[in-house]
């Protein structure tokens, strides 16, 4: 069963996550974020997503690995190019995953 520490962790993670997702829906347009904050928020998704994935591509084992042996980096670059060219999310995910699986097992 869950320890108290785990209970606190999950309650806390739930509370902050739900609060972020709900606050704007809760006030339902009766309150607006200040314009500068709205403008800054526009940069949050791509920067956070990039900062999450890039280290896992460049340092998959914990140290910088820029080589053909690093299947994460190679497949990440391939997926990036597929995304740029096709502009299609399904193709990017399907082809990117397929490329990674083949390359990762060949290496």
């Amino acid at each position: 069963m869950m320890s108290n520490q785990e209970l606190i962790l999950i309650l806390g993670m739930f509370a902050v996550t739900f609060a972020i997702r709900f606050i704007m829906f809760a006030v339902a347009g009766k309150m607006q974020l200040p314009k500068p904050l709205q403008r800054a928020l526009a940069y949050v998704p791509p920067t956070v997503l990039t900062a999450i994935i890039l280290p896992s591509l460049v340092l998959p084992q914990g140290s910088v690995d820029i080589s053909w042996q690093n299947s994460y980096l190679v497949a990440g670059v391939v997926a990036f190019v597929i995304a740029l060219v096709t502009r299609n999310l399904l193709l990017t995910i399907a082809l990117g995953l397929a490329f990674f699986m083949v390359y990762h097992h060949l290496i």
């Binding site: 902050v16 800054a40 998704p45 997503l49 995953l97 990674f100």
Partner: protein, 244 residues
Amino acid sequence: MTAISMTQSPTSKEFSAGVIATLPLILGAIPFGILFGTLAPSSGLSIAATLAMSLFVYAGAAQFIALGLLAAGASPSVIIFTTLVVNLRHLLYATAMVEQVKHLPLVMRALMAFGLTDETFAAVSRRYQQQDINKAHWFYFGSMTAMYGNWVLCTIIGLILGNAIPNVEQWGLDFAMSVTFIGMVVPYLNSRAMIGAVVVAAGMSLACAHLPNKMGLIIAALAGIGVGYWLSRRYPSAQGEVKA
């Protein structure tokens, strides 16, 4: 209305369209969810807590980062703060979507907020760009039901697989999150300010990768947001607009 669409009510038609539109994103979430369930026990999370996290927190990237922090011995307060930063992007999603949901009952809005993931936002914001959005909230519910059900199911599968098959964590399932996020980041890269923000975030995330408690992630995101904001002031024509 065509003869074919008469066989289904508009509500269930929207719901299943939402499920279908989310299937590509589920493809990326399946390996990722399985990996979460696989890795959680070895990061020190009990089975009950692993399941509870997927059921109640329902935030893939944050859950994954929480595992890394737990394995490194971080305290709950550090993990909760990092969750806040990592999930701050959902505030933008909600801001972009509020016009489309503000007429709905509060309980419905609360449910929709709970299901506001990257994937559902990506699927639903496309739907709202089309015509006839009266019943589009059922499209939203279709998307979030499919994502949520898949996420919980994959967590359970991961818990079972991790127990039954050794070394599942070495299959490279973690690439699934990377490729999904790559596919979601690329459409943003349409202005000088946005590209500048992402390049700075990328560079800083690598430069600070060695910092403890995922501080590098927070620093990189803040640096990228700051540069994007500054560039958008400097080149107003190229500003990043809040998209819905």
